[in-house]
């Protein structure tokens, strides 16, 4: 046997032996475990300051906006910036061991580059710190070119993308809120404005200005219009305003109360409370034609209508049972049934997007608070612990409730997460804030 053949033989023998030992090892059965209990905690995440962002003013520093968004979501807890001592902005610069030691599940890195006076290129990468398969550690990687004024909105957009990737749910960071701001003038008169701001309260813009009360703002399902009640003619009327242009349209000007407009899911009709025939009842107005259809009857006060997500039912507040409670009317059969039986005061109800629960204003021993009730079980859970909450409005993903909280002579906008974990205040301009309305997804 010559040398090469000898070598081949060795190779064959060795590989046979190896495969045999491999078999022996593989045949050891792995230890099996089933784990069914975990923790209900926010996901730890780290948002590394983007390279180049410290040249920007603080309210445009993307990593800070993203951190804030994710923290207030209640689903994430960001590593405090003091704790971050490594600042990678490229994927190859990431030392996973470091982030694992900080017990962070995910990492966001990015960079911002000024291309011209007004143009910036922003890049970010979302990485999974623990993913065992190397090339699968990158969860998201995107680049954008935006103008300076769009930086903040882009940061919210990145928060939305990250939120969706890590929770499977759509983020609300690029949604808007509308609310009424009442400002006392020096001469004692009041100014009422309909404000539209980012979901975190930033960049409020006055859409409408009036010396007379504005009430009950309601976003259309496409987010392009807001319906509201105006007292500019010294009586209640319902208008819609086109958010982008400010153009208005009169919808209802009946005798008596025209109030509490609520859009149908297809945006074609408004459910409203009208009292021109009787005590306030619920009516449907076709936005295009103005055709009116009565939905509830009787001498009780029926108001504050809200459509179900499938558009088949309307819930409303009624005192027909003696005290204000929530009722539901089927639009096909016109049959009415009572939904709330806990407590003596339940008003201002709305469906969650999955149609399984309602969120409402509920009076407890403490005072007026926000509560949610399962339609399936009837179980009611109180989310806030305050005295004078009012006007609850749901985020379009059903994860938060935005409401106004009166404290002494003031009132503030606050959000509470649907399971009650997170409470946060939404900054608003000076003045008396009331009747917030959360926009849909855009």
């Amino acid at each position: 046997m010559n040398s090469t053949m000898h070598q081949w033989l060795m190779v064959v023998i060795i590989s046979l032996l190896l495969s045999l030992t491999g078999q022996a090892v593989a045949q050891t059965k792995p230890f099996e475990l089933v784990l069914t209990r975990g923790v209900d905690r926010a996901q730890p995440i780290a948002v590394v300051p983007f390279a180049g962002e410290d040249e920007l003013p603080e309210d445009q520093q993307l990593s800070k906006i993203i951190t804030h968004d994710l923290n207030r979501s209640g689903q994430f807890t960001s590593l405090p910036s003091q704790a971050i001592t490594q600042f990678p902005s490229q994927v190859d610069a990431v030392n996973y061991q470091y982030w694992r030691q900080h017990l962070v599940d995910n990492l966001i890195i990015g960079s911002i580059e000024q291309l011209s006076t007004e143009q910036y290129r922003v890049s970010f990468t979302l990485l999974n710190v623990f993913n065992p398969v190397a090339y699968q550690q990158i969860l998201l990687e995107k680049s954008f070119i935006v103008s300076k004024g769009e930086l903040r909105r882009l940061a919210h957009h990145i928060s939305d993308l990250v939120y969706q990737e890590l929770t499977g749910e759509r983020g609300i960071f690029t949604t808007r809120i509308a609310y009424i701001l009442v400002r006392e003038q020096a001469d004692g008169s009041r100014r009422y404005t309909l404000e539209v701001a980012d979901a975190d309260g930033y960049n409020p813009r006055s859409l409408l200005l009036s010396t007379q009360p504005i009430m009950s703002p309601a976003w259309s399902p496409d987010g392009k219009h807001i319906a509201y009640v105006s007292f500019e003619k010294r009586r209640a009327e319902i208008y819609t305003v086109h958010v982008a242009t400010g153009k208005r349209r009169l919808i209802s000007s009946q005798v008596g109360i025209n109030g509490a407009p609520a859009w149908s899911p297809d945006g074609k009709r408004l459910a409203v409370a009208l009292s021109y025939e009787n005590q306030p009842n619920i009516y449907l107005i076709d936005v295009h034609s103005g055709y009116i259809e009565q939905v509830t009857y009787g001498t009780a006060i029926d108001t504050e209508p809200a459509f179900s997500p499938d558009g088949q039912k309307i819930i409303f507040t009624s005192d027909r049972g003696g005290t204000p409670q929530i009722y539901q009317v089927d639009l096909t059969t016109k049959k009415v049934e009572r939904l709330t039986f806990t407590g003596k005061y339940n008003t201002t109800a709305q469906f969650t997007p999955d149609g399984q629960r309602i969120v409402m204003l509920h009076k407890t021993e403490l005072g007026f608070n926000i509560a949610e009730q399962s339609l399936h079980t009837g179980a009611l859970q109180v989310l806030t612990h305050t005295k004078a909450a009012e006007s609850p409005t749901l985020a379009p993903n059903g994860k938060w409730v935005l409401y106004a909280d009166r404290q002494g002579g003031r009132s503030e906008l606050k959000i509470v997460s649907i399971e009650g974990r997170v409470h946060e205040r939404i900054p608003t301009p000076a003045g008396y804030v009331q009747e917030p309305a959360w926009s849909p997804f855009f």
């Binding site: 050891t28 792995p30 230890f31 099996e32 475990l33 089933v34 784990l35 069914t36 209990r37 975990g38 923790v39 209900d40 905690r41 926010a42 996901q43 689903q75 694992r100 017990l103 599940d105 999974n128 710190v129 623990f130 993913n131 065992p132 890590l166 929770t167 499977g168 749910e169 399971e419």
Partner: protein, 273 residues
């Protein structure tokens, strides 16, 4: 040959002579009518004597005589023969007797020899038997000793086996206990790091294959069965890494059981806060 027939010839001669003589007389007597005068003679009827008839008769008588002679001869011969035969027989008999005697003697001799031999053999056999018995006895003793020793060994072996079995059972029990204990510890360690995503169905499950180094450090984690919900899968993988090093036994042979862990997670409940 002649000598053999000598006697016979002599006798024959004698006899023939006698015969001739006799016949001569007989003829003569024949010629003469019977001497028995007796009776009153009667008028005898005259019988014609026929010469031919006489000749024929004479021939007949001759023939008869010849026949008688022949017969006699034959008889003599027969007698001779018989005598000779008898003699022969006697001789043969004598011979045979002698032989028999000799044989008997021989047999007797042989018998004696045989008896001697038998006696010898018997003696030998007896001796051998004795020896055998002694041997047997010795063997039996040896056997007994051997048996005793074997019994002792067997007992020892059984004792050892029993001890082994006990040890094995004890070890098995220990193993089960360790498996229980460390299984629970590992589950708890991972569970406390496992952040369950908010909107996940309770009946979904992910399965991971975890490889550990001695000491419990997580070497790697593979997703071998996805739940279909990527956030759930990732939450489980992160939990395992965050819980590293996992609690494992220090003794190497116990640790081997935990070198590979197949973990299935199913988000059924949360630790109370």
């Amino acid at each position: 040959m002649l000598s053999e027939y000598k006697l016979s010839f002599l006798i024959s001669l004698v006899l023939h002579s006698a015969l001739i003589v006799l016949s001569a007389f007989s003829w003569q007597s024949v010629k003469a009518p019977s001497t028995e005068p007796a009776a009153p003679v009667e008028i005898i009827q005259a019988i014609t004597v026929d010469e031919v008839a006489i000749q024929t008769e004479m021939k007949r008588i001759q023939a008869e005589r010849q026949q008688q002679q022949a017969a006699e001869l034959a008889r003599q011969q027969e007698l001779e023969r018989k005598a000779a035969q008898a003699k022969k027989q006697r001789e043969a008999e004598a011979k045979r007797l002698a032989e028999l005697e000799a044989q008997t003697k021989k047999i007797k001799q042989q018998q004696e020899q045989e008896m001697k031999r038998l006696a010898n053999l018997k003696a030998q056999a007896k001796a051998a038997e004795q020896k055998r018995q002694e041997e047997e006895k010795r063997q039996a003793e040896l056997q007994q000793q051997l048996a005793q020793r074997q019994a002792a060994l067997q007992k020892k072996l059984e004792e050892e086996q029993r001890q082994q079995a006990q040890l094995a059972a004890e070890k098995e029990r220990q193993l089960q206990e360790i498996i229980q204990r460390y299984g629970a510890l590992i589950k708890q360690a991972i569970g406390q790091q496992w952040i369950i995503p908010d909107n996940v169905e309770r009946n979904l499950s992910s399965t991971l294959l975890i490889r550990l180094a001695p000491g419990g450090s997580v070497v790697d984690v593979q997703l071998i069965q996805s739940s279909g919900h990527p956030q759930l899968d990732r939450s489980a993988i992160a939990a395992v890494y965050k819980a590293s090093p996992l609690p494992v036994p220090r003794e190497e042979e116990w640790f081997e059981k935990f070198r590979e862990v197949k973990l299935t997670v199913r988000p059924e409940e949360v630790f109370a806060r």
